[in-house]
Symmetry: C2
Subunit: 324 residues, 2 copies
């Protein structure tokens, strides 16, 4: 199944969320509106709203209520990207100029602050404090994750566990609560919401591992940017951590990493990419992604047999095989 087929089925509701997203950032401040709109129009797969909608199908599906969760979760994702771009000195994302490059870092910082605040102010329209709590706690974890990322830049002694905790905070957590809060906003049973959280978590972990694989193995055409962007920023991902465990590879790889770090990432990384691609790190990371997908699908077994369950299964397989 293709992700687009699924989107076709949800099209009406996704369009409605898209309109609501635009409305949510239609602020009476030219610079802030332009920067936010620029960010929104840069697109994205809107996976978080899709997870919210599908989570909602396990309860009393009411788009008007569910919107108040779907919109904030996508806004939080957008805001985290714009702050990420400040850290990464990124000039483009998805082929578009970033806010920090089109305007400047200060504008990017405050645009992110504004969108974070807006997200929380929208979700508080729901009279359900538990939902507010879960969303703000996730924001706390995400911000710790951002700091972790900086702390582990070019850190060759990091463990698999360090990496997993980092991608949980960076990616999996927001996807997990997207499924969970969709269910909660639709008053689904607590157990259902909890299972959906776990599904989103496992699917999110697989998604990020594959994303990190793509950055190392994809072509520029496939990933929309030159391969190896992660290492240029100092971000050591799981295939690299695995490769560092290979005694025959480790000394040369360490040397190469020291060299790249010394150049602050502004150097030819051809040799580094070759080493990783020739290592067991790739196959081991692929196996890890598959393991997470299996876990995600296993969780779904415990949920009622509705169409949304098939759709989530489809998304999980899609995450497991993604090569775009």
């Amino acid at each position: 199944m293709k992700l687009l087929d699924l989107y076709a089925k949800l099209k009406k509701d996704i369009n409605s969320i898209e309109k609501e997203l635009e409305r949510s950032i239609d602020v009476d401040h030219p610079l802030l509106r332009d920067a936010s709109l620029h960010l929104l129009k840069a697109g994205g797969k809107r996976i978080r709203p899709v997870f919210v909608l599908l989570g909602g199908k396990f309860g009393d599906y009411n788009l008007e209520r569910i919107k108040h969760v779907a919109v904030p979760l996508e806004l939080i994702h957008m805001a985290s990207l714009v702050h990420d771009d400040v850290i990464d000195d990124a000039n483009t994302r998805r082929g578009q100029l970033t806010v920090r490059s089109k305007w400047d870092n200060r504008i990017a910082m405050y645009t992110g602050d504004y969108i974070f605040a807006k997200a929380l102010s929208i979700v508080t329209r729901l009279e359900n404090p538990a939902i507010h709590r879960i969303m703000s706690k996730a924001l706390v974890e995400m911000s710790i994750g951002e700091m972790e990322q900086i702390r582990f830049f070019y850190h060759t002694e990091q463990t698999v566990r360090d990496y997993l905790l980092r991608i949980k905070r960076k990616t999996a957590l927001l996807l997990a609560i997207s499924c969970q809060l969709g269910a909660m906003a639709a008053d689904a049973p607590e157990k259902t919401a909890r299972l959906l959280y776990r599904f989103g978590y496992f699917a999110g972990m697989a998604f990020q591992v594959r994303d990190d694989l793509l950055d190392l193995c994809g072509t520029e055409k496939e990933i929309g940017k030159p391969p190896g962007s992660d290492i240029r920023q100092g971000n050591i991902t799981i295939p690299v951590i695995f490769a560092l465990e290979e005694p025959r590879l480790r000394p040369a790889l360490l040397e190469e990493l020291t060299r790249i770090k010394a150049c602050d990432g502004q150097t030819d990384i051809h040799r580094f990419l070759e080493m990783i691609r020739g290592s067991q790190g790739i196959a081991r990371a692929e196996a890890l992604a598959s393991l997470y997908i299996d876990k995600a699908i296993a969780v779904l077994q415990e949920l009622p047999d509705i169409q949304a369950k098939k759709d989530l299964t489809g998304i999980a397989h899609f995450f497991g095989n993604r090569s775009y």
Copy 2:
């Protein structure tokens, strides 16, 4: 009355809030904890928690509940300062190194993100969605205010209204909701909470006008930094806007502002300060601050005669005369 006398009466509860503030940022991440603690230890007058406590006295005062408002409001203030310092390239605040100068801008950005998120996650422990809504909406307004500040840097055609709206968002709003949410967390009547909001708003406007006056008229000893820091950053405050309205002064003042802007604030501002100090802008701004204090005190008349009302009156007078 002196502010310290008031603090003596509230000392036990303020100490309890202070401990809770420390606990709130005790995160299992060395860099984040150090940066947050550094920020906390840099001090501040804790006016927001004091407003919360006094607001709470108008209802069923319960420190355990009120804490969940007092701590987040001080955290929001701290987080906004750390993001401010990034914008202002500030190296010191209250005589201490800023986070951005002790670490770097990226650390400062994420420390701010973390503290904002933490604030919201603490307030959501209260089962009162209206409180969550008011706090997150204030954050939205504050972030718009920050962008407004950038937009109006060295903008000599701004109106008094532009300025007032900006300081509302920058200062008065958070003080207003401190009083209001203290009352709400103590289940005070709705009308009481609304009046307290208005008190905090007027007092906050007076506070900021006097703060802006101090930056122009105070000595380095009084204000802990060289006078004229605002204009060096491009921040045109109300005495300057008033002075620009004087035909005999306007041309020379505009010329001086153009020169300071061209040097990006890194120039001798002696002549600028002399012009403003010799203008009607000072007296007019003082009158404006007094007007706001009168309004704040008038609002208090409508509230029951309890000790907290006397304390708020004392604070209002203190704001009206501050010269520290």
